[in-house]
């Protein structure tokens, strides 16, 4: 499978080869032709596809919400007698759910004033922070042709290392935070690096090794958490750590009324770093070369084995940053073995949605953070289970990955092709051979 775990390829639409038109019309006709072509590219292009994919996914989500809603089911019993009731019930359930989703993730109109109303947006960014970090790690591994399912293990080890420094070591403010973050990065990087080393040295498949290391990390951290003197809170029998010392906690970005913490800045920095690494640095070039074709890279003189190791070190460190953000930013009152909160797996979808591009992952992370923040308020306000968010998220990724499908649903033209009404007349003679 090593060959198949390529970074998400170019949008599949690219496969449909654009029609070649060597004899483009000239003169006056060319201007309007160009405009219509540009319009076609916009409506059929990837931005439009992304918007339509989100829209389609929300429609499917709405159908599911309406189908399982009790008032709707009741109203559907007498659909033919009073069809209006049914549609009113559908509208109630769907609009209620989605407005709760919006108000929980972006802006809450029920709160007085802008400062209180904008709070959901900061929640979104707080939820997005670890998703982006882990997504960057997974995406980086994708670019090197590796599939890092080990997010859980890398996050746990990083959280444990950073957490231990944060509550057990006394250091001046500022330095303490930096040391804790570094400890976490090293922890995550080492846990990821094991995978790269094993793959490079013995050819062990990274999918197996990362899955196994997830379990190893889980049990290791569980052991540390329930053993007095290691990670367990003194005087407690719960498998939980003591609270982090205030000197090692990410400061609040917007004051104490908001949960958004400075960890968000580390994630922005990480995104810039990954962008620089992949598109501007020598190492990043080697990463991409190996990801495209390890054999060709080897022939070109790239040390593929060391690329695997360094890629997994960096990938593990980035995923570790997600764990650090959890313990030093989001849950500072002490953590248990569930601190990873399934972010390691969510990150895979984030990386896929972002097409393994750093800024793509950043915005995908923000989008999924919004779904997470809004999902909780939707569940609380409307009783719609938060699992619907998973459905919508996965459908978005699925639709975005298959532009031809979205084009077919909305009857959009394929960019780079000509309108069907004006078939191109082949003027050239066809020569054999």
């Amino acid at each position: 499978m090593s060959d198949s775990t390529r970074p998400p390829a170019e949008p599949a639409g690219a496969v449909a080869a654009p029609a070649d038109h060597p004899d483009a019309p000239r003169g006056q006709d060319a201007g309007s032709e160009r405009w219509s072509q540009a319009m076609r590219d916009i409506v059929g292009g990837s931005a439009a596809i992304s918007v339509l994919a989100v829209f389609l996914a929300l429609v499917v989500g709405a159908i599911l919400i309406a189908l399982t809603d009790e008032p709707v089911q009741k109203a559907s019993g007498y659909l033919f007698a009073r069809p209006g009731d049914m549609f009113a019930a559908v509208w109630d359930s769907v609009s209620g759910a989605y407005s709760a989703l919006f108000q929980g993730s972006i802006y809450n109109f029920r709160r007085p004033g802008f400062a209180a109303g904008i709070r959901p947006l900061t929640e979104t960014l707080t939820f997005a922070t670890p998703l982006i970090a882990a997504g960057l790690g997974v995406g980086l591994a994708f670019r090197v042709g590796m599939f890092n399912i080990g997010g859980r293990g890398q996050m746990l080890i990083a959280a444990a290392s950073a957490g231990w420094v944060a509550f057990a070591v006394d250091l001046p403010a500022g330095i303490h935070l930096i040391v804790a973050v570094l400890a976490g990065l090293v922890g995550g990087a080492l846990w990821g690096g094991i995978v790269g080393l094993l793959k490079a040295r013995t050819g062990a498949h990274e999918v197996i090794v990362t899955i196994m290391l997830n379990f190893v990390a889980l049990y290791l951290v569980s052991y540390l958490l329930r053993t007095p003197g290691l990670l367990q809170e003194p005087g407690s029998s719960n498998p939980q750590t003591p609270p982090m010392k205030p000197t090692a906690v990410f400061p609040d970005l917007l004051g104490p009324t908001y949960n958004l913490h400075a960890g968000f800045l580390t994630v922005v920095a990480a995104t810039v770093f990954v962008w620089w690494l992949l598109s501007r640095s020598n190492l990043g070039f080697q990463f991409r070369a190996v990801g495209e074709n390890p054999n060709a890279a080897r022939v070109a003189g790239i040390n593929v084995q060391s690329v695997y190791v360094s890629a997994m070190l960096i990938s593990g460190g980035l995923v570790g940053l997600a764990g650090i953000n959890q313990v030093l930013g989001t849950v500072t009152t002490g953590f248990g073995a569930g601190i990873d909160a399934n972010i390691g797996f969510d990150a895979i979808t984030v990386a896929l949605l972002g097409r393994s591009r750093p800024w793509g992952i950043f915005f995908a992370g923000v989008l999924f953070g919004a779904f997470k923040a809004g999902g909780f308020s939707m569940q609380a306000a409307e009783g719609v289970p938060i699992d619907i968010v998973l459905v919508v998220q996965s459908l978005i990724v699925l639709f975005i990955a298959a532009p031809p499908l979205v084009r077919a649903i909305f009857r959009l033209p394929t960019p780079g092709t000509k309108p069907r009404s004006r078939p191109t007349v082949v003027k050239k003679e066809v020569t054999a051979g």
């Binding site: 499978m1 090593s2 060959d3 198949s4 775990t5 390529r6 998400p8 390829a9 599949a12 496969v15 599911l64 399982t68 599939f147 399912i149 094993l198 040295r201 013995t202 050819g203 062990a204 498949h205 999918v207 197996i208 090794v209 899955i211 196994m212 290391l213 379990f215 190893v216 049990y219 290791l220 569980s222 052991y223 053993t227 797996f345 895979i348 979808t349 896929l352 289970p385 699992d387 619907i388 968010v389 998973l390 459905v391 919508v392 998220q393 996965s394 459908l395 990724v397 699925l398 990955a401 298959a402 031809p404 499908l405």
Partner: protein, 431 residues
């Protein structure tokens, strides 16, 4: 880790023949590490077990043939097995220096001796029910084996199947609902297969028709199925648990005679319909894959689609239907959760087993029999944790729990090494 020795043998008047010998030290190194590990654990950590005995119960009370309990002195067994381990490790080194391959049976014997030493040490002063160990192994392996078989078929035909988890979960969900409504577990089994096929249809359509990266589709399908089943569970199943989520379970069928075989009989032949069905499935898939026209076509499509196309095989059609078949097989595994073991559907009840099945596919090198064995190994490992946590063990339970996964990493790194997938695995075929 591999060294290449070139021996040139010039002889009189004849052209020089050169032979290239590839020496792999991986197996020898792995065995040596485990031998040292064994010494550390069984002997050094087990010094205080002197005078204690470990009991292995070989029969259950309702067995026809009653075997006496096997009582081993803990420390002596630990020392003996440690010596044996070192002897075998030394032999493997000797074999390697003589440029021969370490035979597989040596590795297997090594593993068995290691296991005996480990169990004896862990069970110091208590009793291990050996038949129970095997019964639990089969119980935990069934979904893994179905998942691995589906993975093998799908990947052999050239479509990476990361969606095993989703197919299992879909199978579990639909079989629970259908078996609850109809009261018939066999209909539930059919529903599970259909659900698995539906997930496969999406996988096949997106990866074959829309040429989306197959790993992406697989991962996303997992999330989609988790989301859908959890959503329906919260909205529909838990409010109407009596009507929708109390499936009729398969009755246990004892096969006469065979079920009375000591030690293994209860594990293999006192099982439900699904398990017997699984035995048949393993055999049929193995035979079909390597000895029939269907299998040849399937493998050719996965290895070299262009060549297959040239001789007139419909590549994408073959892939589509075989991925669907794989979905049906994985779906059966999902039904085992609700109709065989647990008895009701629950959110995310497959708990990542689909990924372990994927690991079994790779560990088993895309071969149905080896993948089945790998799945059994994982099942044994997770069952061992349960047994050991019941009898209580001398080291923290977390480390016992960790051991199978560490062993797997060592095994993958040291013994399996670079596993080679089907050549066209994961690559869409564009005519």
């Amino acid at each position: 880790m591999s060294t290449i020795t070139q021996t040139v043998q010039p002889s009189q008047g004849q052209p020089a023949l050169s032979t290239v010998v590839l020496r792999s030290w991986k197996a020898a190194i792995a065995l040596s590490i485990f031998a040292v590990l064994g010494l550390l654990i069984f002997v050094l950590l087990g010094v205080d077990t002197q005078g204690q005995v470990s009991t292995f119960r070989l029969s259950q009370s309702r067995d026809l043939i009653q075997l006496p309990d096997l009582v081993l002195p803990t420390f002596v067994t630990a020392v003996v097995s440690s010596i044996l381990l070192f002897a075998m490790a030394a032999w493997s080194i000797w074999i390697t220096t003589h440029s021969r391959k370490v035979p597989l049976w040596l590795v297997v014997v090594f593993a068995v001796v290691f296991m005996i030493g480990f169990l004896t040490w862990a069970a110091a002063g208590s009793t291990i029910p050996v038949p129970g160990l095997f019964v639990g192994t089969i119980t935990l392996s069934v979904p893994l084996i179905f998942g691995a078989l589906g993975g093998v078929i799908s990947e052999r035909s050239g479509v990476v199947n990361v969606a095993i988890e989703g197919q299992l979960l879909a199978g579990a969900f639909s079989s629970a609902v259908v078996a609850s409504i109809t009261g018939n577990p066999y209909l539930g089994l059919v529903a599970a297969a259909i659900a698995g096929v539906l997930v496969s249809f999406v996988l096949a359509a997106f990866s074959i028709k829309y040429l989306v990266d197959q790993v992406i589709v697989g991962v996303v399908l997992n999330v989609l199925v988790i989301g859908l089943t959890s959503f329906f569970f919260s909205q529909l199943l838990s409010p109407n648990a009596a009507a929708l989520n109390t499936p009729e379970r398969f009755p246990r069928i004892n096969i006469p005679l065979l079920s009375e075989i000591p030690i293994l009989g209860p594990a293999l032949f006192r099982q439900t319909f699904i398990v017997y069905f699984m035995y048949v499935a393993v055999a049929v898939i193995y035979f079909g894959l390597f000895h029939t026209k269907w299998g040849l076509r399937l493998r050719s499509v996965g290895e070299h689609p262009k060549a297959a196309d040239t001789v007139g095989i419909n590549v994408n059609g073959t892939r589509f239907w075989n991925v669907s078949l794989a979905g049906a097989i994985v779906g059966f595994g999902g039904a085992y959760f609700t109709l065989g073991s647990v008895g009701a559907f629950n959110k995310e009840m497959t708990a990542g087993l689909g990924f372990i099945a994927l690991a079994a596919v790779i560990f088993g090198r895309w071969d149905p029999l080896k993948a089945t064995l790998a799945a059994l190994l994982f099942g044994f490992a997770s069952n061992l944790q349960n047994v050991l946590s019941i009898i209580g063990s001398p080291v923290p339970s977390e480390f016992m729990l960790m051991l199978p996964y560490v062993v797997t990493i060592f095994a993958v790194a040291g013994l399996v090494g670079r596993s080679r997938p089907p050549a066209a695995d994961g690559k869409p075929y564009i005519k």
